[in-house]
């Protein structure tokens, strides 16, 4: 197509020998027009990041272009030398990365970083550069442009940093922008603002944008056209309407079906049971900074309470207090009728098995040097089981969380992220706890895997009558699993109630803002 900004034809990128498949990207044909946002969607390992890195002339080490072309104004990007690339990057193609903090130089002010782009690509005078930088910062809707320009990256929030990165990408007004998961590291309300800005770039400034993401909610909010990638290939390509409303490929259907709905399930009303976990007036301060203010929650056996909040809301601090990695400044935590804050030494050790945690990072939460079975059995032994009992329990648990028996003797490296989370769940359950804390336990997982792990958690929780505290930033996930929801903002509980109440009739303005910011609200 002649009007395309970038025309990718039959592009293949080869993986090194010995990888699980021959090509990271295979036979991809795509094009991007001006005034268009093309979303490339895929789960981890789909090849979407390799594709964009290749288009930026920065294919990861060990990978090589095996065929095809990427034409931009008649020039094949894949044949450029590093020197030619330096003229293209920033000037013809702007790039935005996932980690805004990591894309900025911590030692330079915002102004000098933006002006640096002009120094590289133009011969503007010093005054012109300063004026242009200010204009860009204003165009990004950053508050107090003068203060922002004089600031260093660490003085800005994540969302502000990402807008500075976008300003730098736009400095030479390139026609094409490539954004690789630009909002993934941001809070949901910040994400909504950045997405709005990116739509504005398309509508007002006429940029063509390639937007890579794993989040179908974001896609629904922003895409004109969608390319779905799986194992290096584009399995479906079409307009946003077509792909989301009438997906053709089975994989696309699975992906869309796995997006958790914002509409909560109907849950039976709570029986008047004694709470398994009762937290009263919990306060926590790091030094002089008070991060938790009078938090009181209670969870009955067989119920799920979600604590929803953005980064900095204090939700992880609550988790750390509950499992007693840190001690609160004041307050009471009562598990099954016993105050766990009073315990120390042996008493504390006995108490710990009552309340167990599933961690966020499936790669950091399992010791890479230990075999899975003995790891779970050890937890059982610590909860008081004999060696023989522990081994039996570990084997039963592996089966219960849906892993093969052969998993027993393998090490964590042999498992995928979702499988590792299952192992983490089995390890926590091996202690036969009353209360289970799940701290962002499905956040690091691909959406299809996330759905499976959520189902598993919900199933186990009901069968074993566990009281679960589910900590998450994701309202959709909370909607799927919770009986009750507590909304946390800057260490204060701003709203609490049954999940259906909170999600459908939010009372507090912050809750309303959170729900409004949830990506893809109209599509799913």
């Amino acid at each position: 197509m002649s009007d395309a900004l970038l025309d990718i034809r039959n592009l293949s990128v080869a993986l090194p020998k010995g990888a699980d498949r021959p090509f990271a990207v295979q036979g991809v044909t795509l094009d991007v027009k001006p005034r268009e946002i093309l979303c490339i969607v895929g789960e981890s390992g789909s090849g979407k990041s390799v594709l964009t890195a290749t288009l930026m002339g920065a294919a990861p080490k060990g990978l090589s272009v095996a065929g095809g072309e990427a034409l931009m104004a008649g020039q094949d990007l894949l044949t450029l030398s590093e020197r030619q690339w330096q003229k293209i990057r920033g000037k013809e193609i702007g790039m935005i990365f996932q980690e805004p903090m990591a894309s900025l130089n911590p030692a330079l002010t915002v102004a000098s970083q933006i002006e640096e782009v002009f120094i590289l690509h133009s011969d503007m005078s010093k005054a012109d550069r300063a004026r242009e930088a200010r204009r860009l910062v204003e165009a990004m809707h950053l508050p107090e442009p003068d203060r922002i320009l004089k600031s260093y990256p660490h003085q800005l929030s994540g969302g502000q940093c990402q807008r500075v990165v976008i300003a730098m990408a736009l400095a030479m007004s390139p026609k094409l922008l490539i954004a690789d998961e630009p909002t993934t590291a941001l809070d949901v309300t910040t994400q909504a603002q950045v997405l709005k800005l990116i739509r504005e770039l398309r509508d007002v400034h006429g940029h063509g944008i390639i937007f890579i993401t794993h989040d179908l909610g974001v896609v629904a909010d922003i895409a004109d056209r969608i390319a779905v990638m799986r194992r290096g290939e584009v399995v479906e390509l079409g307009t946003a309407e077509q792909v989301l409303k009438d997906p053709q490929h089975d994989y696309t259907k699975t992906l869309i079906a796995a997006v958790p709905s914002l509409v909560p399930h109907d849950r039976p009303a709570p029986e008047a049971a004694k709470p398994a976990l009762e937290v009263t007036q919990l306060n926590h301060a790091y030094g002089a900074k008070q991060v938790l203010h009078d938090i009181s929650i209670a969870v009955a056996p067989g119920r799920v309470l979600s604590i929803v909040g953005e980064s900095g809301s204090g939700k992880s601090t609550i988790a750390k207090n509950l499992i007693r990695l840190i001690d609160p400044t004041s307050g009471r935590i009562v598990v099954a009728g016993e105050d766990i804050l009073g315990a120390g030494g042996e008493g504390l050790r006995g108490m710990r098995k009552r309340i167990q945690m599933i961690f966020q990072d499936p790669f950091g939460s399992l010791n890479p040097r230990r075999r899975v079975g003995p790891m779970i059995a050890r937890a059982a032994v610590l909860s008081g089981a004999s060696r023989a009992e522990a081994v039996t329990r570990a084997k039963e648990l592996l089966e219960l969380v849906g892993l093969e028996r052969s998993a027993y003797t393998r090490r964590p490296a042999a498992f995928s992220g979702g499988q590792r989370q299952r192992i983490g769940i089995a390890r926590a359950l091996a202690m036969q706890p009353d209360v289970l804390i799940a701290d962002e336990s499905v956040s690091a997982l691909d959406v299809s895997v996330q759905a499976q792990v959520l189902d598993l958690l919900a199933d186990l929780q009901k069968r074993l009558q566990l009281a679960v505290v589910f900590i998450t930033h994701d309202l959709r996930v909370a909607a799927q699993i919770s009986d009750e929801i507590v909304v946390l903002s800057q260490g204060h509980v701003v709203e609490r109630g049954p999940a259906s109440e909170v999600l459908t009739r939010p009372q507090h303005p912050y809750t309303r803002e959170l729900i409004a910011a949830a990506p893809g609200r109209d599509a799913f």
Binding site: I323, K353, S365, N367
Partner: protein, 280 residues
């Protein structure tokens, strides 16, 4: 065996391993390999590749007391291998234990242990050796003590840094919340995750220690004569090195091939470890 494959594909590991394990083999087989008793006086100052008056063949010649240099080198390998390994191991036991404790406990314990380590590290190493040996005397055990004392702080610092990193990972938190005992967390959860960088350091340090033992021998602070000791042989031959270079050259080659082998081995291990880490 499968775990070893990436190591065996590295030329650095192969060359380094050949040199280092070669010397290890020589040390073990010394009684078989050495043609003569290393302490026996045969015929003084015979040049290499010469047949002596009694029909003995001296491949590397003899020293001024008439001892066969080849035999002394072979038995000297045993001395170096035994004492360098022993000294490095004891240094590791100390450095590892305190490093784990300091890195995991943090706070005041860490501050005190770091301060002590820094005090020792602030002395020039050679001066430290000399002071220790002069004070407690030159004997095999004292050499081990001196090396342990001076290299344990460096090991301590490496282990402490790795421990701080590993201890911040979630699996350690999981172990704490399971009520796991502190010593099991240290030795079962943390220690096995430190071994990659430590194996590299161990090889390098073994080489340094071999040089140290050589240096001490050269300064006359090493193993008391007539024990065959490479550094000591260089020292004894020094005065006549111009006329009889073989007295000095061969022990020097022995010291450098051993340390070179260990350094190459360390480099190779590091490359493989780095590659593994990048994959993970």
């Amino acid at each position: 065996m499968k775990a070893l494959t990436p190591y065996l594909q590295k030329p650095l590991v192969l060359i380094g391993g050949f040199l280092a394990f070669g010397w290890l083999l020589v040390a073990i087989l010394a009684p078989v390999l050495a043609p003569y008793n290393p302490l026996q006086t045969l015929q003084p100052l015979v040049k290499p590749l010469t047949t002596g008056s009694n029909g003995e063949y001296f491949l590397l010649g003899t020293d001024m007391l008439g001892r066969d240099i080849l035999s002394r080198l072979i038995w000297g390998a045993q001395t170096v291998v035994i004492y360098a390994t022993l000294a490095t191991l004891t240094a590791y036991i100390l450095g590892l234990s305190f490093g784990l404790i300091a890195g995991y406990a943090g706070g005041r314990t860490d501050a005190v242990l770091c301060f002590l380590a820094n005090v020792i590290l602030s002395f020039p190493v050679l001066v430290l050796y000399i002071v220790i040996i002069v004070v407690i005397g030159a004997s095999p055990v004292n050499i081990v003590i001196a090396v342990t004392f001076s290299s344990a702080p460096a090991i301590f610092r490496i282990v402490r840094a790795i421990t701080i990193d590993v201890a911040s990972r979630d699996f350690v938190k999981a172990a704490i919340t399971q009520g796991e005992s502190t010593w099991r967390i240290l030795f079962i959860d943390i220690l096995p995750n430190t071994t990659g960088p430590l194996a590299v350091d161990f090889c390098l340090r073994l080489g340094y220690t071999a040089i140290t033992i050589g240096t001490l021998g050269f300064l006359g602070l090493g193993l008391p004569p007539p024990t065959p000791d490479w550094g000591g042989m260089v020292n004894e031959g020094r005065a006549m090195a111009i006329a009889f270079p073989h007295l000095v050259v061969f022990p020097c080659i022995a010291i450098s091939t051993l340390t070179l082998g260990l350094s190459l081995l360390a480099d190779g291990l590091r490359e493989v470890n780095d590659a593994k880490e990048r994959q993970a």
